[in-house]
């Protein structure tokens, strides 16, 4: 079971998608139910990971490692550790939720929609559980297409532009990453004489400094775009605004995490010296992102693009916390990935609910919704507060740890980042005020019906998580602690080793260095 579980979790959605292909387009209800049940079962099975996770070890767990393309050294190598565990769970949960959330909002081509979502889920899960560079890249790209369809087919008016922009931006980074992966692969071959993509072995690979920088740039670019970090963020508002609710939820909830996760899993441990070199630049970008995202979010007229820009700011937090490379910052950063997935996912769900009723997302079209939809308002309020990091909610724990970690790295960074939380309150509350408060003067708003049971069920798990992580984050933090610690140790050790490059412990290192640097 332990060996198969990840395969099951990863490919169960695809299996469900295949089943869907056999259903006729007219059987909408059956399609929805099948899709939801698949996603739900996937989620339930994935909780097995949580309950059987050994929190006291940094080793990869539930590992499966089978040769796949032997001649290229590609292995089917999956596994999770404390860093990826929760992202996997987040993915399975959010997919199930987003399917449920699209129950009535998607009427056209339901089958395609559900198939896209499920395949997307496989892609995302694959990214988080792959321990093989090749496999990782494949999943990384695989998830692009269903997302492209989700935006392009079921999106808003400007969906095609947004979809293409999304794909082109992401591809730009990932193609460069592909080159870097291949280069890394060649370096590894020169060093050891074996063609292999095994990720874990790359952690031990001592990559010459010159090569590290280039490879780092290529990898980092792919991830930065995905995160997205200033100034590569402009695809995000478009994609978010145009995407259907489920698409936005997945996009914000999971896809963006792939960038930060990639940083954590690939960029930092593989290229620690390059990371050192570029860290200040990246940190500045992250800080700009925090402030910039918040400022621009403030003046948005569309709720979705406001949330999109807030994502830029929030992901800036995640990045800066990661750069601290200390226990607190990293744990905060990982936790904040979850938090952002939960909170922003919930925000998009909420925006989607009201969009379904009003078919507008412009802030000025609302006002006074509090009165007509009190339950909705309460959910909205909680999520808003979570998004601005109010203590007691998940956002606080993550942000506080991040800021604390960042403070340990550089006080100025911390001060700027902390200023970001002021701005977060400004734009979120202002938005909330304009949407929910005031007199309900527009006749179309007065007739709004409060959320129904299904919608409550959609939001409830996220609300529970908001408070769970906010009030008792210990299980999360403890589970990720050994892996994070290991990551830090490994990275530091490798960095130290390479800084003393003059005394290598193996001859080939010098050889590779000169080869690469010519």
């Amino acid at each position: 079971m332990n060996e198969q579980i990840l395969t099951i979790v990863t490919f169960l959605p695809t299996f469900g998608a295949l089943i869907l292909l056999f259903l006729r387009e007219e059987m909408k209800q059956a399609i929805k139910v099948t899709a939801f049940v698949t996603a739900l079962i996937t989620f339930l099975i994935s909780t097995y990971l949580y309950f059987n996770f050994q929190p006291d070890t940094a080793a990869m767990q539930f590992v499966i490692n089978k040769p796949w393309i032997k001649a290229l050294g590609v292995n089917y190598h999956l596994g999770v550790d404390g860093i990826s565990l929760f992202l996997v769970l987040l993915t399975t949960l959010l997919t199930a939720i987003s399917i449920l959330s699209s129950w009535t909002s998607v009427g056209d081509r339901v089958k395609g929609f559900m198939v896209s979502l499920l395949i997307l889920e496989t892609g995302m899960l694959g990214v988080f559980v792959s321990l093989d560079l090749f496999l990782f890249y494949i999943f990384w790209e695989v998830m692009l297409i269903p997302m492209y369809f989700l935006i392009g087919i079921w999106g808003g008016i400007n969906r095609i532009y947004a979809a293409i922009k999304f794909v082109l931006f992401t591809m730009f980074g990932s193609l460069l990453m592909l080159v870097a992966i291949v280069a890394l692969y060649a370096i590894r071959y020169k060093a050891t004489g074996v063609w292999s993509f095994d990720l874990l072995s790359y952690y031990d690979l001592r990559i010459p400094l010159g090569a590290q920088n280039w490879l780092f740039i290529a990898f980092a670019l792919a991830f930065l775009i995905k995160v997205p970090m200033f100034p590569f963020h402009t695809w995000l508002p478009d994609a978010h605004v145009q995407a259907p609710t489920a698409g936005s939820v997945i996009l914000a909830g999971v896809l963006l995490k792939m960038g930060t996760y990639g940083f954590l899993r690939y960029c930092i441990p593989m290229f620690p010296n390059a990371f050192d070199t570029f860290m200040p630049l990246l940190a500045v970008l992250a800080l700009i992102g925090i402030i910039y995202g918040a400022l621009v979010a403030m003046v948005q007229k569309d709720v979705k693009s406001l949330v999109a820009f807030s994502s830029v700011a929030h992901m800036g937090f995640v990045m800066i916390g990661m750069f601290a490379l200390n226990m607190i910052g990293l744990q905060g950063s990982i936790l904040q990935m979850l938090n952002h997935g939960i909170s922003t996912g919930a925000l998009f769900l909420i925006v989607g609910m009201i969009y379904e009723r009003r078919h507008t997302r412009l802030i000025e079209d609302f006002g006074g919704i509090f009165k007509v939809m009190p339950i909705f308002a309460t959910f909205f309020m909680i999520v808003t507060l979570s998004s601005i990091g109010l203590p007691g909610t998940n956002g606080f724990v993550g942000e506080f740890l991040i800021l604390l970690g960042t403070f340990g790295l550089n006080k100025v960074y911390a001060v700027i980042a902390t200023a970001g939380i002021i701005l977060a309150a400004v734009y979120m509350l202002w938005m909330f005020q304009r949407v929910m408060f005031g007199k309900c003067e527009k006749p179309e708003n007065q007739k709004l019906i409060d959320i129904n049971l299904r919608e409550k069920l959609v939001l409830l798990p996220l609300i529970i998580l908001i408070f769970w992580i906010g009030l008792y984050p210990k299980p999360f933090l403890n589970a990720m602690a050994p892996s994070v610690e290991n990551l830090i140790e490994q990275t530091t050790a490798k960095k130290m080793h390479l800084s003393q490059f003059a005394v290598p412990d193996k001859g080939w290192q010098i050889a590779t260095a000169t080869q690469i640097e010519e």
Partner: protein, 643 residues
């Protein structure tokens, strides 16, 4: 005392109960849950207080850790509570005054649509405030700190259909966040220098690990003080408090007078060890406090909104408390905090009673002569006014006098502080009596419609008023100074908390000037206050018709003060507007034009290139052959030339 964790949790339970199910409860159930939970808290607080009294003074510090909350690497924040004299006083004040206000609200909010919502928020506030004062570490305190901020936001904007109310709520939250920004950074700085966020550890280790008056401790205390400035509405972050009066009056009484706004003072007192290590910060605290006290008092002079007067008065009084802290007289600060809680809550509730009776009218120019119509309200409010003005025998006299005396005599004090304090006290007396005269005396200035509804508030509202009135009188006697033959019992009780700080600041207890000086100063103060009261009487009662003339007689000064020094407008102009405009610029110009423009431009360029390249594809074989030939020439030529 093992039950102290229940003190915040009971109101929290009340919050959950009302919050989740309040819709389906009837009003009595709701208020029973709400008031009941606070009553339980109050009883538990009393129990804790007396439990504490039974202990020896040195061991009056009990910690109870519920669970480890955020463990991450070397960082750990518990959900843990600390009961010591300081927090004991605070929980008593908070739960006590809170209980009274809860009860009062039952009457005040009886006809409001959002009845259950109101009590839900109120209970949440109680929980947060109690967490704030009971926390045993900075982070948990921060939880309460932001929690009360949230409740303040929710309650100010309680009438959410009113634009000004929601604006005010948002303003309160954001301005508080600015303070929290400092507070959070202060916590971080402490963590990274001392390695812990637990009060006991930090205060134990700080004197050993940090240099006295060093940069770190100064920075940390200043950052923490920024938090206090925000929360306790000191200059320059006071702007939210007057606006906060948009909320229901019980809220103003509870949150914006008695409890939440004093959190800053509490926090500074709690961190007295750190503050004593940073004399520079103390000086800053004292100056900010004194400036705020005087500044707010001047604004209060000519306000016409009854609640706004009280709001500025609150700011001013909070300034006093900070002065106390700034001169290292934390005990005096807390003492004033407590008495202020009583009489200011009373004033607000009284004002609420007036407003209630006046069908929501808040402008004092449309009141007058209410004395006979609202006897209980009048009496109790008068008592509170006397207390706040510092009339001897009332509680305010003792606490305010203690602060003035400390400001004069403490090693950190100065006569200048005393002088300004004295002026402020006089101004306070002036505007408070102006309020009394305008409201309760003189001729009626309201219309018949109001008159027809005018009657004294129900018992559920007046009883809390009376209780508070009693407290406003006797509250001062627990801290009767030695000069007045008291035992300064209050300060003794608190002493263990401040002992360490005192040690660091080398404060000898009871040192300083002789009683003679103290008497002289006291007398001067009282005299000045009385003069100011009579001035008020002269212009607002005796010559009530000319009062406007009197006010306008100050010319530009009046305008300045009446418009609150145009600070809101200034903030709008230099901060808010540029921010919005700049952000719009960033979005429209930078995001859309530059970044997107760059990428779209690249795409456009490729497209243009394609268009112009297409021209080459003429469809004519000869031109194809021509290009082919060109290529051939290039290939051969290249090889020849590079041979």
């Amino acid at each position: 005392m093992e039950l102290i964790w229940l003190i915040p949790l009971v109101p929290l339970a009340g919050f959950l109960l009302n919050g989740l199910l309040g819709k389906s409860f009837s009003k009595p159930v709701i208020n029973t849950i709400a008031c009941g939970s606070v009553a339980v808290s109050f009883l538990l607080s009393l129990n804790a207080f007396f439990g504490l009294l039974r202990l020896a003074p040195e061991s009056r510090s009990v910690e109870y850790i519920l669970f480890s909350w955020i463990p991450s690497g070397s960082f750990n924040a518990d959900v843990g509570f600390l009961l010591d004299p300081l927090s004991a006083v605070m929980i008593l004040v908070v739960s006590g005054v809170g209980l009274l206000i809860h009860i009062y609200s039952v009457g005040y909010m009886a006809h409001d649509e959002g009845y259950s919502r109101f009590f839900t928020y109120l209970n949440l506030f109680m929980a947060s405030m109690l967490i704030l004062v009971l926390a045993n570490n900075f982070v948990l305190m921060y939880v309460g700190w932001e929690g009360v901020g949230l409740c303040s936001y929710l309650l100010i904007g309680f009438w959410y259909e009113k634009r000004s109310a929601t604006d005010a709520g948002k303003k309160a939250f954001i301005v508080n966040r600015i303070g929290d920004f400092g507070f959070a950074l202060g916590i971080m700085l402490l963590f990274w220098t001392i390695g812990s966020v637990h009060f006991s550890t930090v205060f134990d280790l700080a004197p050993q690990q940090l240099a006295y008056g060093g940069g770190i401790v100064t920075a940390a205390t200043l950052l923490l003080f920024l938090g206090a400035v925000g929360k306790s509405a000191q200059v320059p972050l006071y702007v939210w408090l007057p606006d906060a009066m948009e909320g229901p009056t019980p809220v103003s009484a509870l949150i914006h007078a008695a409890t939440m706004v004093t959190a800053g003072v509490y926090m500074v007192a709690r961190c007295n060890v750190l503050y004593m290590m940073a004399p520079t910060t103390l000086l800053v605290v004292a100056i900010v406090g004194m400036f705020t006290a005087f500044y707010a008092a001047t604004i209060g002079l000519f306000q016409n909104d009854i609640k706004r007067v009280l709001a500025y008065s609150t700011i001013s009084q909070l300034g006093y408390m900070f002065v106390a802290c700034g001169v290292a007289a934390f005990g005096a600060g807390i003492f004033h905090l407590m008495t202020h809680a009583f009489f200011k809550a009373l004033l607000f509730l009284g004002a609420g009673s007036v407003i209630h009776a006046m069908s929501g009218e808040q402008d004092m120019r449309r009141m007058g002569g209410l004395k006979s119509k609202l006897p209980v309200t009048y009496t109790t409010m008068l008592i509170a006014t006397l207390a706040i003005s510092g009339i001897p025998l009332f509680s305010g006299f003792f606490s305010k006098d203690e602060i003035l005396w400390q400001a004069f005599s403490s090693p950190f004090g100065s006569p200048l502080l005393w002088v300004v304090g004295l002026l402020t006290a006089g101004l306070t007396a002036f505007y408070m009596f102006r309020l009394i005269y305008l409201t309760f005396f003189g001729q009626r200035r309201y219309d018949d419609h109001v008159a027809s509804h005018l009657r004294e508030s129900p018992k559920v509202m007046t009883v809390p008023l009376m209780i508070l009135a009693v407290l406003s009188v006797i509250g001062g006697y627990v801290g009767l100074p030695k000069a007045l033959l008291g035992g300064a019992w209050f300060e003794h009780f608190l002493h263990p908390v401040f002992a360490k700080g005192a040690e660091i600041g080398k404060l000898a207890e009871g040192a300083g000037e002789s009683h003679a000086t103290e008497y002289a100063l006291m007398l001067a103060a009282v005299a000045f206050v009385v003069v100011m009261i009579f001035t008020a009487k002269r212009y607002y009662l005796d010559r009530a018709k000319n009062s406007e003339q009197f006010e306008h007689g100050f010319g530009g000064l009046y305008k300045l003060v009446y418009n609150k020094y145009f600070i809101d407008e200034l903030y709008d102009k230099i901060i808010v507007n540029p921010l919005v405009k700049g952000s719009n610029l960033l979005w429209q110009k930078f995001d859309v034009l530059i970044i997107d423009g760059f990428f779209n431009g690249a795409a456009w360029l490729a497209g243009q290139w394609a268009i112009s390249m297409r021209k080459l594809q003429t469809g004519m074989v000869r031109s194809y052959a021509f290009v082919f030939l060109g290529g051939a020439i290039f290939v051969i030529g290249y090889l020849i030339l590079s041979r």
